[in-house]
Symmetry: C2
Subunit: 319 residues, 2 copies
């Protein structure tokens, strides 16, 4: 008879066979401690969850999503895991765990421990765990993170309806401003660098928003306008943003705030007004109404002082 | 209110926003057709499954797991997906779907369609579907496949008990023989190349084995001896293989068969004898008893004509 889940508790790490690859896995599992208890079989067995299981996969690649001279290895690990976890926030899902596939160049081997610590930082901040993974040799560092969550009623991009208000959490523009500073050879403002280096997936915030009436959601990974364009197309609606309302970190203009990607804030639409003061008190950050959903050709437009202006584009890895 | 799963059926692809990255995703989704219906939100919503959800993630990297001059783009896509699906076979799980994260260099862009067709081949052969994914630019091609399955009673590596017999499906040695031929500058035997280029995860076979009494399982990705070493350590047992019983493809010796990785056959242990003739009739391939599980120091040893011989190692990406 096959062993049931109860006969092989997840809360016990499984010894692996010999070999350098497995030594590395063992080192990572030891380093992660309780965050990674039980990993090491061919596949992970998910604990039972309530509601729907939601899943997303996301790869961060050196030279595309980050540069080693901009961030520490620990920050790189944190960002990769936080970016993936943010997709759970976009569905208003609760994290169940992550799977981590590391492609590691020789030159990165000495920093893998720090990278793993960064992954653990994000996994711990999201109050979840590492379910399994894979390590392989490669010529460039790539971190493929698959996140698993559960949600009684997942939010999607397709739920926006004409008449909805559009909201966004937090304040935008920091990551793009930091990247532009690095690209110019400058040092970014500390607050902008922090927004780039240490994103915080809005998991609890998104669940609160869903529970209070949000009916479509997206996380800001490509830029506010670019990501709301996904909502507009998936929902078959037009979204009109008011440039002056877009919440900005200090020192950036609205265009930079609207174009900045890798924010990992959440934008939602809701038919009834959301209680922004209660949100702000609960989560210590603003929730800002930035526009409206209308019937019309699917897309996003931006107005400034009542006149339509060109909408800034977002981040596109192939452009 | 949040849209429920029923309000947004999975069987409808969700339009994405503008941009070249999304054009590529759209092209892939169109190419996959019904295999990828409904993908495109921040995360995939899993259909309800019976039993436990099992998950595994696996990355195939150009130059590590394959070389472009050995295989067609379509074969490369198929192998990456088949390798990941094989981890479900190792758990005796039924596939629910796959998530695909593609890291694509510029030079690969023209072949992404063929690569995607190969992924679809493996997904179709496993009678499953594509749940979601991610594409990003990169300097080297990496295919990160996360597989999701369900199993009432997943098989693990930890279930072997002293006295069990050890079985393996199929015939081994083809992939290693093919790789060695390429490395020598030769053309591999057609049958060996086929074993490397078109692995077939033993999903139905493993479910049959679990239903008929197998109690530990592993898929042969690193090599028979290397993978059984995982079972030995996870179960805390000693595994003794008889070299002359290891099933071999034509033209390879037992050492090559025992060391050959990326076979994607399945090895199991069972307390009561398994019905090999019935298995062979049902699946058109052999099921071979190759050794025994004993109490003792965890590990694998090999005997030949009753005398202990050195056990060949397996594939280790960092060795």
């Amino acid at each position: 008879m096959a062993p049931s889940r109860n006969e092989r508790p997840l809360a016990r790490s499984i010894p692996l066979g010999p070999g350098r690859e497995f030594d590395l896995i063992r080192e990572l599992v030891a380093r992660w401690g309780p965050l990674a208890e039980g990993i090491g079989d061919d596949a992970a067995i998910l604990p039972p969850v309530e509601g729907s299981v939601v899943l997303s996969t996301d790869t961060s690649v050196e030279g595309v999503h980050f540069r080693r001279d901009w961030l520490s290895p620990r920050e790189i690990g944190l960002r990769a895991a936080a970016a993936a976890l943010s997709d759970l926030a976009a569905m208003a899902a609760e994290p169940v765990g992550v799977l981590l596939a590391l492609s590691i160049p020789e030159r990165w081997l000495r920093d893998v421990g720090d990278l793993a610590d960064g992954v653990a930082d994000a996994v711990g901040e999201a109050d979840t765990r590492i379910l399994g993974g894979d390590v392989t040799r490669a010529a460039e560092l790539a971190i493929c993170v698959t996140v698993v969550g559960s949600a009684a009623a997942p939010l999607t991009r397709a739920g926006a309806r004409p008449g909805d208000a559009v909201y966004v959490t937090g304040a935008l523009g920091g990551p793009l401003s930091a990247v532009r500073a690095w690209q110019r050879g400058d040092r970014p403002a500390a607050a902008h660098r922090e927004r780039f280096a240490h994103p915080r997936p809005r998991i609890q915030e998104a669940r609160w928003l869903a529970a209070h009436g949000a009916r479509a959601a997206v996380d800001i990974s490509d830029g506010l306008v670019a990501d709301l364009a996904h909502v507009a197309r998936a929902s078959g609606v037009r979204i009109v943003l008011e440039a002056e309302r877009i919440p900005r970190v200090d020192g950036v203009g609205w265009r930079e705030a609207a174009a900045s990607g890798e924010e990992y804030e959440v934008a939602v639409t809701a038919g009834d007004p959301l209680d922004a003061p209660e949100f702000a008190e609960r989560f210590g950050m603003p929730l800002t109404a930035i526009g409206r959903v209308r019937a019309g050709e699917p897309g996003v437009e931006v107005t400034l002082a009542g006149e339509r202006v060109a909408a800034p584009g977002g981040w596109d890895h192939f452009s």
